[in-house]
């Protein structure tokens, strides 16, 4: 069949349609990878860094030249030096917060995954549960945190529960919406191939939910640290929350702010981790954005 047909205007050789198809991909410029991608990412961060630095400078000048007592508004430089001097105590109180955050968030993720899958298979369960979940989001944390501590003590459990309370909802909503975003054509095709519901969930619905999952992850992970600190504030032996409380009671706003800076750094680090995990968990996202050159390397 090949070769004997006379060359037509658009087809010259065997496998010829690919000559048309590939030409689009093959003429593109080399991929933006490695260093250049890094520098462009840094360049994007530059304006934010600049704004932040300007804010700090303004604050520093105001605190020094405005004649304000450091017990009211400490300058950033004082926060920094005091943080350094109290680094041992800060670190000692940061670790339990990290532990509570990660444990609570892990439980929340696991529960969200299991429940979202159940809801996907049993739509009735969804109707029963979602009103409850939404109601859970109306609870004021300030009022609930002391109660949870009262019920479950000063240990890890109340912290896990409170972190889960603030992170569970965005996660399960993200997952359930993600499953629903599965293309009906893919589901139908899988069904025609003979795949059952569980197979379709695993092969199509779960991967389709990944972008939603990571969007939810980025949001809820920023709540997680705050949730843990709230829990500690309400009662704990150690942790950034209780550290802030005692620093405030000792009229040390500089140390309160130092603890705030640590918790912000923690949140940012977790956020960055989530972005990084997404980067590696969804390599096809990058492939789509970068260029179409890579796979043609193997071609003659």
């Amino acid at each position: 069949m090949r070769g004997r047909d006379a060359p037509s205007p658009i087809s010259q050789e065997r496998g010829e349609p690919s000559a048309i198809g590939e030409s689009r991909g093959a003429v593109q410029s080399p991929p933006l990878r490695g260093r250049s991608a890094l520098t462009s990412a840094l360049a994007k961060l530059a304006p934010a860094a600049l704004a932040f630095a300007l804010l700090l400078i303004a604050w520093e000048l105001y605190a020094r030249l405005g004649g304000i007592a450091p017990t009211v508004l400490p300058a950033p430089s004082r926060v920094l030096t005091q943080a350094w001097e109290n680094r041992a105590a800060l670190a000692d109180n940061t670790l339990p917060t990290i532990r509570a955050t990660l444990a609570g968030f892990a439980c929340s993720l696991l529960a969200a995954f299991i429940l979202s899958a159940l809801v996907d298979f049993l739509p009735r369960l969804r109707r029963a549960m979602f009103p409850l979940l939404i109601a859970s989001q109306t609870l004021p944390l300030v009022a609930i945190a002391p109660l949870v501590v009262l019920w479950f003590g000063f240990g890890l459990l109340p912290k896990i529960l409170l972190v889960a309370l603030v992170t569970f909802f965005p996660m399960i909503v993200a997952l359930v919406e993600g499953y629903a975003a599965t293309s009906t054509e893919i589901s139908q095709m899988l069904a025609a191939m003979g795949a059952g519901r569980w197979r379709i969930f695993w092969l199509a619905r779960l991967p389709s939910a990944l972008p939603y999952f990571f969007a939810g992850l980025r949001i809820s992970i920023t709540y997680a640290v705050v949730g843990a600190i709230f829990a500690e504030y309400a009662g704990a032996a150690k942790g950034l929350g209780i550290y802030m409380l005692s620093a405030k009671n000792n009229f040390r706003p500089d140390l309160v702010l130092a603890a705030v800076a640590v918790s912000s750094a923690l949140t940012l680090a977790l956020f960055g981790l989530a972005v990084l995990v997404q980067h590696f968990a969804m390599p096809w996202e990058r492939a789509g954005r970068d260029s179409k050159v890579e796979p043609s390397e193997g071609r003659p």
Partner: protein
């Protein structure tokens, strides 16, 4: 020998009458097209065949009532999974049938050259051009080795040049493989180029308005004489379509 036979198949979506009385048959090794205006109910017919929805009427395969997994189905949009590499998209049907991923890859890999995808096994679908995506989807469809192919407008989303190339390619592929195939299209030229027979459907509610045999030798892109004969058949079909459906004038762009 008749493989697929539909008799008086009907389908309503609530008050919306989509398929009104469709009867057709496809013989072993035959390439049959269903030609009809947009929204006629062509994709709905495939959904009935694959069992995604239920309708009325009789559907038989090899003489027995239609059951389960007879068809390898290629949906209207390519439905490639963006999270699977091209080769793993191609093996999807085999994996669902229970084959191990490695074995499935070994089965599929040798076909990449024939489908113009050599070297792209490990690419992501987003890295392919439109034509390549359609060939990857077609590869995923044919490796399932089912009794019959159902192709829903495989080239509908392509630009004219790529579509023409793909049609010629499919024509040659069919000549060497002789799949039993049912193709949905609303491109008259495509139907005439590829089919042994064509069923022309009316606008919704769809019924068969004519059945056209295309007794031309293949490949049909070979000579000017064949092209003329094909053009005559095309013109005839176009007349039927427009006569059956006064609403769809040549100017509304759905018809070629």
């Amino acid at each position: 020998m008749t493989r697929l036979e539909l008799r008086d198949v009907r389908k309503n979506f609530g008050p919306l009458e989509v398929l009104a009385d469709i009867s057709l048959h496809v013989a072993t090794g035959e390439f049959v097209s269903i030609l009809g205006p947009s929204g006629a109910g062509k994709s709905t017919l495939f959904q009935l065949l694959t069992g995604a929805i239920q309708g009325e009427g009789e559907m038989r395969f090899d003489g027995a009532p239609l059951d389960g997994a007879r068809f390898a189905f290629m949906p209207q949009r390519d439905a490639l999974m963006p999270w699977r590499r091209v080769i793993d998209n191609a093996t999807l049907g085999l994996e669902v049938q229970g084959m191990k991923r490695r074995a499935a890859r070994q089965r599929v890999a040798p076909l990449f050259a024939e489908f113009g995808l050599a070297g792209f096994e490990r690419a992501w679908p987003t890295e392919l051009s439109g034509g390549m995506r359609q060939r990857a989807a077609l590869l995923r469809t044919v490796v399932q080795q089912r009794d019959m192919l159902l192709l829903d407008e495989p080239f509908g989303a392509l630009d004219a040049l790529t579509r023409a190339a793909m049609q010629r390619w499919l024509e040659r592929m069919w000549q060497s493989h002789r799949w039993t195939a049912l193709l949905i299209t609303h491109d008259v030229r495509e139907a005439v180029l590829l089919s042994d027979r064509i069923y022309v459907l009316s606008a919704r509610p769809a019924r068969v308005v004519s059945e056209v045999a295309v007794p031309l030798p293949r490949p049909r892109t070979e000579s000017a004489e064949l092209a003329r004969e094909a053009a005559a058949i095309e013109a005839g079909i176009l007349d039927t379509l427009l006569a059956a459906d006064p609403i769809s004038r040549p100017s509304d762009g759905e018809m070629k």
